[in-house]
Symmetry: D2
Subunit: 302 residues, 4 copies
Amino acid sequence: MVQTVGFIGLGIMGGRMAKNVLKAGVALRAYNRTAAKAEEVRRLGATVAASPREAAAGADAVITMVADPPALAAVLEGPDGALAGCRPGTLVIDMSTVDPDTSRTMAARAASLGLRYLEAPVTGGVGAAERGTLLIMAGGTREDFAAAKPLLETMGGKILHAGPMGSGSVMKLATNLVASSIYTAMAEGLVFATKAGLDPGLVAEVLAERSPLIASAAPRVLAGQFTAFFPLRLSHKDVHLALATARSLGVPLFGLGTVGQLQTAALAKGLGELDQIATIQVLEEIAGVQVRTPPTAIRSPD
Amino acid sequence: MVQTVGFIGLGIMGGRMAKNVLKAGVALRAYNRTAAKAEEVRRLGATVAASPREAAAGADAVITMVADPPALAAVLEGPDGALAGCRPGTLVIDMSTVDPDTSRTMAARAASLGLRYLEAPVTGGVGAAERGTLLIMAGGTREDFAAAKPLLETMGGKILHAGPMGSGSVMKLATNLVASSIYTAMAEGLVFATKAGLDPGLVAEVLAERSPLIASAAPRVLAGQFTAFFPLRLSHKDVHLALATARSLGVPLFGLGTVGQLQTAALAKGLGELDQIATIQVLEEIAGVQVRTPPTAIRSPD
Amino acid sequence: MVQTVGFIGLGIMGGRMAKNVLKAGVALRAYNRTAAKAEEVRRLGATVAASPREAAAGADAVITMVADPPALAAVLEGPDGALAGCRPGTLVIDMSTVDPDTSRTMAARAASLGLRYLEAPVTGGVGAAERGTLLIMAGGTREDFAAAKPLLETMGGKILHAGPMGSGSVMKLATNLVASSIYTAMAEGLVFATKAGLDPGLVAEVLAERSPLIASAAPRVLAGQFTAFFPLRLSHKDVHLALATARSLGVPLFGLGTVGQLQTAALAKGLGELDQIATIQVLEEIAGVQVRTPPTAIRSPD
Amino acid sequence: MVQTVGFIGLGIMGGRMAKNVLKAGVALRAYNRTAAKAEEVRRLGATVAASPREAAAGADAVITMVADPPALAAVLEGPDGALAGCRPGTLVIDMSTVDPDTSRTMAARAASLGLRYLEAPVTGGVGAAERGTLLIMAGGTREDFAAAKPLLETMGGKILHAGPMGSGSVMKLATNLVASSIYTAMAEGLVFATKAGLDPGLVAEVLAERSPLIASAAPRVLAGQFTAFFPLRLSHKDVHLALATARSLGVPLFGLGTVGQLQTAALAKGLGELDQIATIQVLEEIAGVQVRTPPTAIRSPD
């Protein structure tokens, strides 16, 4: 097991994941673009670094958890980047959601510097990040996966080796693809039935049986609570990474293409920082109906 | 509780439901267009009628369970139809999946003859029909719902009153809308990841956490088992009832519209009698990849 | 050539077509549901009938030009319908846009009464109806087509025999399919480029080269003139007749399906009586941009 | 007017455009990645350069005409790139189809080296390139547009100033967006009507009135001639540049998104080097029908 980890990216997810690494007794060298977000882990014992390079210096492993491919390039590459700070043989583990090409490019860059690289994107949302029960889908060699596994277990409940480099990203994009499609289906079902005059609470109860995602999201829609578990802006980014990857593979995704356009419409309404389920507001506005239930509403018609 | 029920429509679902009514000690007057399908309930004690009218004659309640709106009109209307056979005050319960306009039209016709009418479509598939644990979503007056409830409880595990006439159909169409969208998302996720070189079994395992529908369907896709739990032909019918109803309500359903076109493509390939999950074959053919795993395949790469 | 024609349906299109028949010296027995619309042809010499049946009585041929399949059934069938008024051998020519099944059903009904039937839907819009230069696409036997041709030539510039009964409807639906797709493409191009900051007038000028439909429609969009040449409500009806027909033929229409959902969104905004090009307002609202140019705008940036 | 031009990219379009520049009496320093393609202009008097840098050396203006943004970066940037070869003040004119961000990035890079930059994508296809009648849509300052205009007139029939840097790309993407949507609509109309049993030749004749693009393309579809006027691979690239640009602007393009997925399906079938109209083969295969007419077919049913 590694003794010291450089942890880069302390956002909604990364901050919680870093705390779980710390709690497992690993020394942490933390970096975040906005320094204020590093305060909490500093209080818990982490060293705060002034650059990704400094966070990587002297670490046995480096973890990155940032928003998208450009953000990943920004923290790994260049004179102040983490790759420049690693000593030979260091294992770099990217836990961000990127596309497989980005993973392969970064892995090649790391290899050219004598470093090892594993992609290990996660799913489960804020709650699982907090509890250390994320599903982690790794791509890379068996050796690197085996080496990283004990560290990953401080953050995740289920750790899968999806296959060679790029497979972790594909697995993550596939599971996000399904999630955003389910939220779109929920939105269509709720708006359709509500416009037809049904009690949204009762509809939500029935639709909840179709997916635990709906069971969790529908009550938030009804309560008008769109605080981000997973911001629309990032979901939109993932949907388009999936579409671009599928395009290069020769796989048409008619359903997801539609989901992507609805999300673009929601972004145009300025909903990017809300949860991805806020996309329902596009349909509500077009259909001229609100699914939201007044807090005092009595659920059932009988 | 009713003593005698006329039961019309003994297909995959109706046959199983009728048996549960019989087991509860209710006398059954059964009718099916193809008489051979009535043999099993006859052996269990049902009287087999030669026409819907004859099945309804002398019954306290009439249940219909047929394929679509035209089939419903065919068994209810005309000189040999069930409505002509009912005595005044009889409760007619349609458990087929139709659109709300059809329910309202049939209810009005029944009312004009002094009959009562409840729509009560079901969800849960063949297994729940067999076990008597269907989810039943009724539309109609509270009085008719209350009167029908004990009888419905012989077939269902959860009996909801969705609201006035038409609400049961809307609820059913909404839940089917979500189900067929989820199967489409599963198909896109599986084909995408398989084309990218991942092990379909591992992908299926991850996607299964997104929905119990996927947990049940993905292994069947991998095993190449497309025997109908719910035939594509009927799912396609429901999708288009939902689209037509949404259209008349002024609710655009971009996602479901796409699902409907993919199902049309699958029907054009002659897959109508297979399960609705067979729609994945359209994507497989376009992408030039097969998700099916050889039975001997070893699942995990590590 | 026929001497007397029963003309049923004097709307935006039918009224203009009836006048051209009259001008050709044919005696006209006109009927319209809203009687006031018959005033103009009465002044030009037509006899106004009190029912479709009365309009058909004594005519050598009957022409119908109504909104949709139910409206067609309403004027042809029943005791006051045109079919009941025709003497044996009369040629009934339906010029409405319906689906091929409706044409086949009506033709069979006419045949059972000893009547002849031709479907002959038109394209070209209000201007061509006024000038008598419609494109007419007939379906039926060669004999009936030959018999109707001189009469059709009073209204049309190009008269095609598309094939047996149903073929005229299919041809019409195919050409409308292409038209509404082109208007949707125009809307996407205009909103996209305008949001990017380009001069809409210049964009319209470039897109106009892609289709005469755009050359005619784009200036109206820029001027904010959405008066109906062809009302969205009817275009939406035709799009869904095409989708339903294609579905029954096993032809997925992914593009048209999307067009249909955008039109549903426009109808939900209450734009049904405006021209079909008003669908652009859905995109404008989502994108937060108006393509309309102030009347005083100077077009070109150089 | 410029005396010497460096011309980079001698493909299907660029080769023809370079010849028109030569014919106008301008000295040409030509470069193409595959040197063989430079033979024809060499015979007509051009100097063939060994690198983009060499082509630019000593030229008054540099023209680039390559496949996509990466290809553009490859010929402009780096030690052997054209920018490195230009003397200060040289006007670099990119006539490729790229997205506005790429144009802005390249323009900034040129400016930082003391060079001037104009984007000037074209439309009209191979025929217009041959005849020197392209429509050219320029983005950049008025001064640079004015300076480039005489040179552009050797290649184009209509030269528009679309607005500041990026506007030319947007205009081009908008017009391509409309074109690929029209080809998709044509494909849907032809396959739909042919499956319904109509004569494809007659359908093509009617649809041709909707757009000159259809008038030109439909006969090629019927003849089974899919030789590239504009290869599907490049059309697909443009569609996705438009989708990505629209996404960043907050403009959902539901119709174009669908077109893009159908093109991905066609690419998966290996049709990338055929003309973009070959996308119809995806629909033909799904629908199980061929639009192609035997060469001896007699057109009309009457």
